[in-house]
């Protein structure tokens, strides 16, 4: 046997060993711009496979997660609005019950260090537990959900495709949801193209001016490139006496955290209305006016808001124009993130 034949046989053997594995469950790559920070999330528990992503996508859009099969994650997290709940101050869940906060966006979560407006959830894999068990949202328990999934042939098959067995556990369910939501990366807005000096990223004078105002007045909390510093701040909103929501203090029991809420990302903010933890502002104009003239002073108000932010009318307009460059239509209309069609099953094993 000459050398060449040996090599061919060896490669063929290797292909036999590994070739099918690759075909069976396509691997996912987690991609993001090279100048971004390294993600906070450690991906090691995920299979990073197309099948797990598709399973997570089915779960995200399936009301099976709620007590009476009426509410899915997507009920309050709509793709076209950055996975926020457009036009709802406070999100409503099961039986039409109203929650006490505005649903957050789901974007670039791999970089988040904590979850929910008060940071009560410490890990992305556990985030879904909160809406599943909240009595105003899905009002179920992970145990009930897993029982329903185990009784479903569709899900037994989908889980089999990921794990090579059809055992459905709480952990596997949470990891599948994580596999989907962690892939929701938005990094192709006009702003991003501008930073990368790509075609389509040419800023007008107004947008350039808006960016420089933003960097001077807003970026200490809404830090680029993720547009959040992952911290909790009191941004000087008046207390809503119908909610009396003291934010992070409810989790930490620390008076220094009174009225502090998670600094949200501003990506796709053009479409994520209404704004603030209780959705009190309908428009971005109202948001900017709050920061320039309506900040309530208290012991815990953010350092940078102790003096009202000063902006001329023209600067406000430029800032608004800049904020629109954070819209990433490729993300908002990415077909991979939409409702999974019935006939479009994930890759079969």
């Amino acid at each position: 046997m000459n050398k060449v034949t040996k090599h061919i046989l060896f490669s063929f053997g290797l292909f036999l060993c590994f070739g099918f594995v690759v075909l069976k469950n396509k691997k996912l790559l987690f991609e993001y711009p090279e100048y971004w920070p390294i993600p906070h999330y450690d991906f090691s528990k995920l299979s990073m496979s197309e099948n797990e992503f598709q399973l997570g996508r089915h779960l995200f859009y399936d009301p099976i997660l709620s007590r009476d099969n009426t509410i899915s994650c997507a009920s309050c997290h709509t793709q076209a609005t950055g996975f926020a709940h457009v036009d709802h101050e406070l999100s409503h869940g099961i039986d039409g019950r109203i929650g006490k906060r505005n649903s957050m966006t789901i974007m670039n979560l791999a970089w988040n260090t904590s979850f929910m407006w008060d940071g009560g959830v410490n890990h992305i894999e556990l985030q879904a537990l909160a809406p599943i068990s909240s009595e105003n949202e899905m009002d179920a328990s992970l145990e009930q959900v897993v029982d329903k999934l185990n009784a479903s042939e569709k899900y037994r098959t989908l889980f089999y495709n990921v794990h090579n067995d059809s055992i459905i556990t709480g952990q596997r369910t949470l990891l599948a949801i994580t596999q989907f939501v962690v892939m929701l990366t938005t990094s192709n807005s006009k702003y991003d193209k501008h930073i990368r000096k790509e075609v389509g990223g040419e800023f007008t004078e107004q947008e350039k001016n808006g960016l420089s105002i933003f960097r001077n007045k807003c970026a200490s909390c809404h830090t680029e490139p993720l547009f959040t510093n992952n911290q909790f701040e009191n941004n000087g909103l008046k207390i809503d006496p119908t909610l009396n929501d003291f934010g992070r203090q409810l989790v930490t029991n620390n008076p220094e955290d009174s009225l502090k809420f998670k600094v949200p990302t501003l990506r796709n903010i053009q479409f994520t209305k209404p704004y603030m933890h209780d959705g009190r502002f309908e428009t971005l104009q109202e948001v900017i006016n709050h920061y320039t003239s309506d900040v309530q002073h208290s012991n815990t108000v953010s350092e940078v808001l102790k003096n009202n932010i000063k902006l001329t009318h023209r600067e406000k307009v430029d800032l608004l124009v800049f904020l629109r460059t954070l819209t990433d239509k490729e993300f908002l209309f990415d077909k991979r993130f939409t409702f999974p069609l019935k006939n479009k099953q994930p890759i079969k094993s």
Partner: protein, 239 residues
């Protein structure tokens, strides 16, 4: 020629490694098992569902739930060297098969003390969705504020003015200064037949709890921390 030599060297090396690892797997190590059995009692009586017990402060109670984690088993010998056995077990007093903990790969040389924790340590509280007994499906994980419930005891008592006369103690929290994990130590010198039998007595828990005034702890914090101090008092060697 030189090339050939290094090739056969490689082959010998791999063969040696193969034989070595084979031996490693099948060699007779002196490892054995240690069984830890938990016997749930209330002041000497067995704990059963729908059965009335009287606490030291004269509250009549029935227990409906008694679940807790035992983790981080560490064997310490007389020379103070330690052997840690990775195991987290959720004990459910009303599920018999959870009451026996099997620790394998024990080296019985000079083991002197067995340490273990009541509760789940910080590492698992911050590492996302875990499997097995730590799977959040077991109802021992808080959803609105991430963290394990280390110890859960529920029941009813006419002394409680709560809905359905219920009392609920969900003791958890991993962050200092109110971390609720507690460590126990048991001397192994006198154990018989490689089995350590431990009483879990609910009586001492209610010794300093007056159910008319204290009947619910459901969040981490100072109160949970002080209730956690009662937990080690519930465990003792079965005589």
């Amino acid at each position: 020629m030189k090339h050939m030599q290094s090739k056969s060297m490689n082959l010998y090396f791999f063969m040696a490694m193969f034989i070595f690892s084979f031996q490693l797997v099948f060699s007779q190590k002196n490892t054995e098992k240690l069984i830890v059995n938990i016997v749930p009692i209330f002041n000497g009586e067995s704990i059963l569902k729908d059965t009335w017990y009287v606490t030291q402060s004269k509250d009549s109670i029935q227990l409906s739930k008694l679940k807790f984690y035992l983790t981080n088993f560490v064997l310490i010998d007389k020379e103070s060297s330690t052997d840690t056995i990775k195991k987290q077990q959720l004990i459910d007093v009303f599920k018999k098969k959870t009451l026996s903990i099997e620790l394998s790969d024990i080296i019985y040389t000079n083991n002197y003390v067995l340490n273990f924790d009541i509760g789940v340590d910080e590492k698992f509280n911050t590492s996302g969705a875990n499997a097995g007994d730590l799977d959040p499906i077991n109802g021992m994980f808080w959803s609105w504020q991430s963290g394990y419930i280390n110890f859960k005891i529920e029941g009813k008592s006419p002394s409680c003015t709560t809905r359905k006369n219920k009392f609920q103690f969900h003791i958890g929290g991993y962050q200092k200064p109110n971390a609720t994990i507690r460590t126990l130590a048991f001397n192994l010198a006198s154990i018989k037949e490689k089995t350590l039998t431990i009483n879990l007595d609910a009586y001492p828990f209610f010794k300093s709890i007056h159910l008319d005034s204290q009947n619910q702890v459901m969040i981490p914090g100072k109160e949970a921390n002080s209730v956690a101090n009662l937990l080690p008092k519930m465990f003792s060697i079965h005589e």
